[in-house]
């Protein structure tokens, strides 16, 4: 045992937990922590806004499967993390947020830069802590990391008053974590797995819907085995993209508001729906009450509260997908489902959804598809939120888990650049492309400084339509083209990049797209491409808000301008 300061205990614990990087921003109350930081083998990335720190930690986690850590000072520093924490919470990613707070004598007295960040983040964290003694720190950090990374992952916040960083305590590494109220179920009920197998064996038109949980449960391989043995077509949710290789013959894209027509129809016409590591979210399922009312639902998830939340479930299986899937596969009989697969194939032939039409104009779908071709489908794509996000999901084809990184549940604009930074830091050898909205990019573009500081070879593609495109699309379709507060005069993004020392080019015609992508890829460092895409292009297919999946509409002919 040794006597250490609270700051040292925290860093010692983080180091032992395997933390290599912290995304942070200093301030008064965390100075004791910053003072101790150089003595530890932990890399600190200085962000330019704390929201960036939280998104970077999240991007780091999503790209690597490991916990991401962010750090902020009290008050405004802590509140700036909130959007990033909520983003991680909605998508169940393991982000550990550490905040300083005012000294214990001042807590509750509205001390300078005091914010009740544990109170504020209670509904957007898996759990949070206010640490009042240096002697509580070691166990608290261990518990926090355990909660953050096990079961259904999720963000955990630890708030530490300034003088707790300074207080000394005996440091002892707690070997054991014991939480009476936290015991995730991993195994999966044998009887339920048997019932699920029986239902699948009797099914004529089974479909698997794979979600983010397959990626976090590292069960892509196990999913492929199940699908192949019983020849069950697989669709994914938006966050499940990459959980099942999109070049696999049984892959039928992803479902939902902007999912593929045939994926939506397959889900809506199946007789057995097998939801794996997903939560039957409204953006994926359309109007609940009219989603395929006769289908029997098998729901496999690690979080019991997700089962039965939105839909009545025929067979609930609470467990870890990596455990449950192989046991299910063992009990499932080999099958072909020829008729059913032929039916979906026919729908896909009639409604291909993902064809890139021949145009003179520079359409965004063409940009994404060309990027796919030029990168051999191997890049890691990080997006913002809006039209470009949907096109990136649709027109790039993902082979692996963790290849598409995007804010699905909260839909946080501004995630693109810091998310990509986190991903690149987690995977220095990966080819990372940030696909940015011209709106969203401006929410967090100050993090370009981090790209330069850390010499990250990120390629930044701005989808410049001069609009908050997704909102404009809704105004066009549902508000009688009343384009209100969506047109934006954009700055010269090349000059902005240049100001940070990042080279770039502007692309205004289709003919330039391929060369621009090649130039960017050949450049060793970061590179920005400002794609001046067609301004009024819309995302299709679409399930209008409040409609059912079966009401998916495709691009009306008058929109198919060339």
């Amino acid at each position: 045992m040794a006597r250490l300061s609270g700051a040292e205990i925290l860093l010692e614990c983080l180091q032992r937990e395997g933390v290599e990087v912290i995304f942070g921003y200093p301030g008064g109350v965390v100075l004791p922590l910053y003072d101790a930081l150089p003595r530890y083998n932990i890399r600190h990335i200085l962000v330019r806004h704390e929201q960036g720190a939280a998104h970077m930690a999240d991007g780091y986690a999503r790209a690597s499967g490991r916990m991401g850590v962010c750090l902020a000072t009290s008050g405004p520093g802590a509140t700036n993390l909130v959007t990033g924490i909520a983003t991680a919470f909605m998508d169940s990613t393991p982000v550990l947020a550490i905040t300083g707070n005012v000294a214990r004598t001042l807590l509750g007295r509205d001390g300078f830069q005091e914010a009740d960040i544990t109170g504020i983040t209670m509904p957007i964290t898996k759990h949070n802590y206010l640490v009042m003694r240096a002697s509580d720190l070691a166990l608290t950090v261990r518990e926090a990391v355990h909660i953050c990374t096990t079961g259904r992952p999720g963000p955990v916040l630890i708030d530490i008053p300034k003088d707790v960083f300074q207080e000394e305590a005996e440091f002892e590494w707690p070997e054991e974590v014991r939480l009476r109220g936290y015991k995730p179920t991993y195994e999966g009920h044998a009887g339920m797995i048997r019932r699920a197998a029986q239902l699948i064996n009797e099914a004529k038109r089974p479909i698997i819907i794979a979600g983010h949980g397959v990626i976090w449960g590292d069960a892509s391989r196990e999913l492929i085995e199940l699908a192949e043995k019983a020849q069950i077509p697989v669709i994914t949710t938006f966050l499940g993209i990459g959980a099942f290789p999109e070049d696999h013959p049984l892959s039928y894209g992803w479902l939902g508001m902007h999912g593929m027509y045939y994926a939506n129809m397959a889900a809506d016409n199946a007789d057995v729906v097998i939801g794996v590591g997903m939560r039957f979210d409204d953006r994926a399922m359309g109007r609940f009450k009219d989603f395929n009312p006769t289908a029997k639902i098998i729901h496999i998830d690690i979080d019991p509260a997700e089962i039965g939340k939105n839909f009545a479930t025929a067979v609930p299986i609470v467990g870890h997908v990596k455990n449950v899937l192989p046991r299910l596969t063992e009990l499932v009989k080999e099958a072909t489902h020829e008729e059913w697969i032929a039916w979906i194939d026919r729908v896909r032939e009639e409604h291909p959804s993902l064809e890139i039409r021949e145009t003179r104009r520079l359409i965004p779908q063409y940009v994404v598809r060309t990027l796919y071709e030029e990168t051999n489908g191997d890049a890691t794509i990080v997006t913002g939120v809006g039209q470009h996000q949907m096109w990136a999901g649709q027109h790039y084809f993902y082979k692996r888990p963790r290849q598409l990184i995007s804010s699905g549940g909260l839909g946080t604009m501004g995630f693109e650049l810091p998310g990509a930074i986190g991903a690149q830091i987690a995977r220095p050898d990966a080819e990372v492309w940030a696909i940015c909205g011209d709106g969203g990019f401006q929410m967090t573009m100050q993090e370009l400084a981090v790209v330069v500081d850390e010499q990250l070879p990120i390629k930044i593609a701005i989808f410049n339509n001069g609009y908050l495109g997704m909102v404009r699309q809704w105004q066009q379709l549902f508000y009688n083209r009343n384009f209100m507060a969506v047109a934006m005069t954009q700055p010269d993004f090349l000059k902005i990049a240049e100001a940070y020392g990042i080279p770039g080019i502007r692309v205004e015609t289709k003919a330039e797209v391929r060369d621009a992508i090649r130039t960017a890829r050949q450049h060793r460092g970061p590179f920005l491409i400002d794609f001046m895409i067609d301004q009024e292009e819309n995302v299709w297919p679409m399930v209008p808000a409040g409609a059912a999946l079966k009401e998916t509409i495709e691009a009306p002919p008058e929109e198919l301008v060339r």
Binding site: V102, A103, G119, L130, M132, R133
Partner: protein, 202 residues
Amino acid sequence: MSSRNGRRRVNQHTVVAIVEDKPGVLMRVASLFRRRGFNIESLTVGPTEAQGLSRMTIVVDGESAPVEQVEKQLYKLIDVVKVSDLSNEEMVARELALIKVRCNNLNRHEILDIAQVFRADVVDIATNSLILQVVGDEDKINGLIKMCEPYGIRELARTGRVAMVRGPKTTTVHEEVPESIARIHASQGRRVEGVELPFSSD
């Protein structure tokens, strides 16, 4: 919060949650109910037979939420150790009420007679008011309140329901936690008392 006109709603659920006795746990539970739109009819908290654990009895309006979701969402809170729905169990459910009733020399005896019928205790008496203390299920308490109304109720305080399953079955938690961990759990998040902390501000 409590159901006004007395009739115990068919769809009411009595949920008992055994929770870690830690600062903030009440806020976590309350915040969960608010966010998910579960209506709380009453909520009581107190210590249990085990150290470090508190017992919450929550009466939920089942119309506002399937009780299964309430249970599962409660379980998601790390500080919630055990959740039991007593609604389908044989249970004893009790509430205590203090009723300050207006009275005078002429009607005091009538009120005392009523109190006796309800086996309520008179716990305070003054020239123009008295306090009745009554324990029972909601129907009984509502009945007494109704009988007191004509005299004038100056003030009413009710505890909300506490409940327990009949027979040997329990809704308690028996898991022991190693001493070294229990000690830290007991202090986690709690204010430091008895020592002069340095004053520090920056």
